[in-house]
Symmetry: C2
Subunit: 218 residues, 2 copies
Amino acid sequence: MDDRKSAGAEAAKPREAPYHHGDLREALLRAAESELTEKGVEGFTLRGCARRAGVSHAAPAHHFRDANALLTELAAVGFGRFVAAMRARQDQAGDDPRQRLVGAGLGYIDFARANPALFRLMFSSFRPDFETLHLKTEAADAFGLLVDSVAALRGVDPRTVRSAMRDVASAWATAHGLADLLLSDRMAFMDEISDGRPEALYADIISRSVPDRPAGGG
Amino acid sequence: MDDRKSAGAEAAKPREAPYHHGDLREALLRAAESELTEKGVEGFTLRGCARRAGVSHAAPAHHFRDANALLTELAAVGFGRFVAAMRARQDQAGDDPRQRLVGAGLGYIDFARANPALFRLMFSSFRPDFETLHLKTEAADAFGLLVDSVAALRGVDPRTVRSAMRDVASAWATAHGLADLLLSDRMAFMDEISDGRPEALYADIISRSVPDRPAGGG
DNA sequence: CTCACAATCTTGACATCGTCAACGTTCCAT
DNA sequence: ATGGAACGTTGACGATGTCAAGATTGTGAG
């Protein structure tokens, strides 16, 4: 991004590592993701991040209040990429609202499989603080994408029509359950029943969660 | 269970705590569950378990190889209770195969809400070793209950009929997603759309996952 | 019965972790 | 230029998991 600021760090010419890193905050976020990917949420270490970024163990404190604050920010950027993954699948899904909703679900699974540790951090850890503004809004955006997808399918706003919000809950639970079980390797038998096209199976299962006929009681 | 062996411990007469605990292994498992419940998977501490059991920090090593081994055993007994929770709902579901499958799902959710930290340990942690025999078989039993429920509904064995195994995957993913999102407090909006009967909504969502007409391609 | 061995528990040590306080270094506005 | 603010380092503290060594108790062979 900024060539001047991130000059002497891990850029082209590491001329003896200047005292000031230049872009330590971003470097720490990258380091944190590596740490997370390699050690998992439960093996994550703040000192490990500092080492990866090439700074002393106490340096991160000047950019993140504590380890959880770093993980909170990492989860926030994770939700940003999460939304992007869902949008990507929707873009290639065409105009049919059902296919677009299914696409959101496939993107959900894409992201989980591509970023297992990050997904765990975002959905199965108590360390990120969801009251922090950035994370709160990014997570809300992800939820919003799902709500919009159901809205397009049902033609009503789930925020005001109960039956539609029930569809949101149903689709979300199904996609989330698939993603979570897949990345914890609990669905090894999937390979044997998917006829070599696992995504078609995922799509079928997600599609079931929102029947053609909206359920009554809205 | 055994009054003679668990005598001097935390039982009736704590006469100066004998050098040998008498039933430390079981006491550690109970302590571990308390520790897990109060501190969560990420705050779990082996030394904390030892303190709760009233022994020194190194005592657990004589009963469990390391902290993960203790968590592995705890997860195993957790799966035992997990199966019991599903059976309990099935027992009160009557004879209709669909209601019994839904019952299994409701039991799944019951257990998750009643034992959030334990559920997390069982499904979202890499610390338990699923290659350990006890845990492996208990987890397989839980899976077996689900398979049997689908078998009863479809009238065929999912282990040999692909379409039925797809129903297993679908029902499991849905129940699991619901449970996981509920206990991470991501579905607060459920209260507003469930008309005061959340379980009926859970049942509806689970039921969607296995349509009346089996999908083709089995 | 006894007595040596095995099982059980304790104490102490080590490396590592998150956090804090104190201090050095560099940047930048005045 | 210079002094305060921002940024980074060193050192320390208590806590953790694990290991090694010692203390205590149960137990089976004689």
